[in-house]
């Protein structure tokens, strides 16, 4: 019985596979932005600028890696920027104002981050309230908490060798944040692509009922993604203090847009079921590069918000069109 052969069952060529890869679009976008950047400004392709760009991008990339997990299983965390900001402020508050040693301050801050993630996840999943509503509330509440803790002013970080060694220094002219980004994104990427947990996320995002029927504990897995995402965002906030030497109560304001943008540009569906960490990391580069180019060219800084907004829209529109096209090709 050799009657059922689907139309798309032709063996794929290597070029076809590359073009079809979820990250193809984002790589094209990066190449395009770099070409424009190099032709517009001679200061772009300078070693120090490249290190600065990557360093700036590292925070968004780490947050985007974590939130990719949330997005792939069909949820979203809009409070991620506020969590990132709270991480920075909480760490400096604990280490400076409460005068705790560095490591306990870091650990307590991370525990708080994980707890916030659990709360976001628990309320969304267990009470069945859309996560964008729950985390939108979190966005506001956590920002308020951050302002209250810091009394609305920057807190300067405590001098500490331990802290500098962890997140402040550089190696071979490359900032430690870049290494953290590479390490964390790789770990999250491997977990997503190679473990049962990662597979469960794609299953939940692709067909929640099927995942449930297959014995996957959907609620538990979803809440875990919120916790991981929040953990990484908190850590990114602590890392930021290592770079800037202080925390600012407005840190992370609007960062949720950059993070959502990175994930969308990276080829993930914001409706769940698809996406990769490599894509999200590269997506963070697209946003970061555009911002950097606009700054170097001397455009009014507010244009970066416009550019990022348009970038998200373009990414979502293109993703949707590509998916629809694939679907019509199949049927």
């Amino acid at each position: 019985m050799a009657t059922q052969v689907g139309r798309s069952e032709k063996p794929e060529t290597r070029i076809g596979r590359i073009i079809r890869a979820e990250e193809f679009g984002v790589v094209v976008a990066i190449v395009a932005v770099v070409i424009v950047a190099v032709s517009l400004t001679p200061n772009f392709a300078v070693g120090t600028n490249i290190n600065t760009i990557v360093q700036q991008i590292s925070y968004v990339a780490i947050c985007a890696a974590g939130m990719s997990l949330v997005v792939i299983c069909g949820e979203i965390d809009l409070s991620i920027g506020s969590i990132y900001g709270l991480g920075a402020v909480m760490y400096t508050w604990l280490s400076v104002k409460v005068d705790l040693p560095i490591l306990p301050s870091i650990i307590l801050t991370l525990i708080l981050g994980v707890f916030i993630g659990w709360l976001n996840g628990y309320v969304s999943v267990k009470l069945n309230i859309p996560s964008f509503v729950v985390t939108l509330a979190g966005l506001g509440a956590l920002r308020g908490a951050t302002l209250l803790i810091s009394s609305g002013v920057p807190i300067y970080a405590k001098e500490s060798k331990t802290f500098t060694a962890l997140v402040g220094g550089s190696f071979l002219g490359i900032s430690s944040q870049v290494f953290w980004m590479l390490a964390l994104c790789t770990i999250v990427g491997v977990v997503l692509a190679k473990t049962k947990f990662g597979s469960d996320l794609y299953a939940i995002g692709g067909n929640k009922v099927a995942a449930q029927n297959a014995g996957i504990n959907v609620s538990k897995v979803k809440i875990q993604t919120f916790m991981i995402s929040s953990f990484l965002a908190t850590w990114a906030g602590i890392m930021l203090v290592g770079w800037l030497g202080s925390s600012n109560p407005l840190t992370g304001q609007g960062t949720e847009l950059l993070i959502v943008g990175a994930i969308a540009v990276g080829g993930a569906s914001l409706f769940g079921g698809s996406g990769t960490i490599l894509g999200a990391t590269l997506g963070a580069f697209v946003g970061g590069l555009i911002t950097n180019v606009l700054v170097l060219v001397g455009v009014n800084g507010n244009w970066t918000f416009v550019a990022n907004g348009l970038l998200i829209l373009a990414a979502v529109v293109i993703n949707t069109l590509v998916r629809q096209k694939r679907k019509t090709l199949r049927t």
Binding site: Q4, V5, G6, K196, G206, N207, G215, I216
Partner: protein, 260 residues
């Protein structure tokens, strides 16, 4: 895995509000047997299936495998007792490939990492054993036809080592060729020694593949027939519950088709 030979249910009853969905229903399916469940909408077929697979709790009655009473109160209990139910759209993730779907929730792992190539290998082998024609286990399920998807959903149940596979209208919404393919898988399951419970509205199909037909009406068993010893007219009359009405209609049908 269990090596059960007989799945039995005794005195199953279930009431939903004012409706007695099932009333003192006895049921039996042996290994290597295809039992068809027929009946009008609301006859109680789906409630019976849902009780057997742990999705609905009966008000009374018990489920026995090889004469031993089993407590099946959750879908997971059914799976551990070797019973699985196949709902095509509720079993597969379209955006994942064939192998990942066959192993969904039960992925092969080594040191915590998924063994995707091993899963593809085994999935290909399993599809081959069931004579399911899909060129590669790397294909995304959403690119396959409805019939192929139904076959993969069935393969998943087999992979779980189920002794009894419950199919709720597996050929509804499929084209004739795909229906034939699914029915062929049903007979493959029987040859592999599985007990198959098949809900269907299609009498021709039921007569073609089943060994026994259980007709339900109003939440009760209206009749049980060996497929070889019955015919369309008898089954229809049991489903409708009115002998003269059926005879009348069949007569009219014959006149109509002769007149065409």
């Amino acid at each position: 895995m269990t090596t059960a030979a007989i799945l039995r249910a005794e005195g199953l009853a279930k009431r939903f509000g004012g409706v007695q969905a099932l009333n003192a229903v006895d049921f039996e399916c042996k290994a290597g047997e295809v039992v068809a469940l027929m009946g009008d909408n609301g006859a109680g077929k789906s409630t019976l299936i849902r009780i057997l697979c742990g999705a609905t709790k009966p008000d009374s009655g018990q489920i026995l495998i090889d004469g031993t009473v089993r407590s099946i109160t959750r879908p997971q209990d059914a799976v551990t007792n070797g019973i699985s139910v196949v709902y095509q759209d509720l079993a597969l993730v379209g955006s994942m490939d064939v192998a990942r779907n066959v192993f969904l929730g039960h992925e092969l792992r080594r040191f915590g990492f998924i063994r995707i190539s091993k899963m593809r290998e085994e999935a290909t082998l399993l599809l081959g054993q069931l004579k399911i024609n899909i060129s590669s286990s790397k294909l995304q399920v959403e690119s396959l036809s409805g019939g192929q998807r139904q076959c993969i959903a069935i393969a998943r149940a087999v992979r779980l080592g189920s002794d009894f596979v419950l199919l709720d209208e597996p050929t509804a919404a499929l084209g004739p060729e795909q229906q034939a393919n699914v029915l062929r898988i049903v007979t493959e399951l029987r040859s592999a020694g599985k007990g198959v419970v098949l809900i269907s509205h299609n009498i021709d199909q039921v007569l073609a593949v089943s060994d026994r037909i259980i007709v339900m009406r109003g939440g009760q068993v209206a009749g049980i027939r060996n497929t070889k010893e019955t015919n369309t007219q008898e089954i229809v009359s049991m489903i409708v519950g009115d002998q003269s009405f059926v005879k009348h209609n069949l007569k009219n049908q014959t006149i109509l088709s002769e007149g065409e």
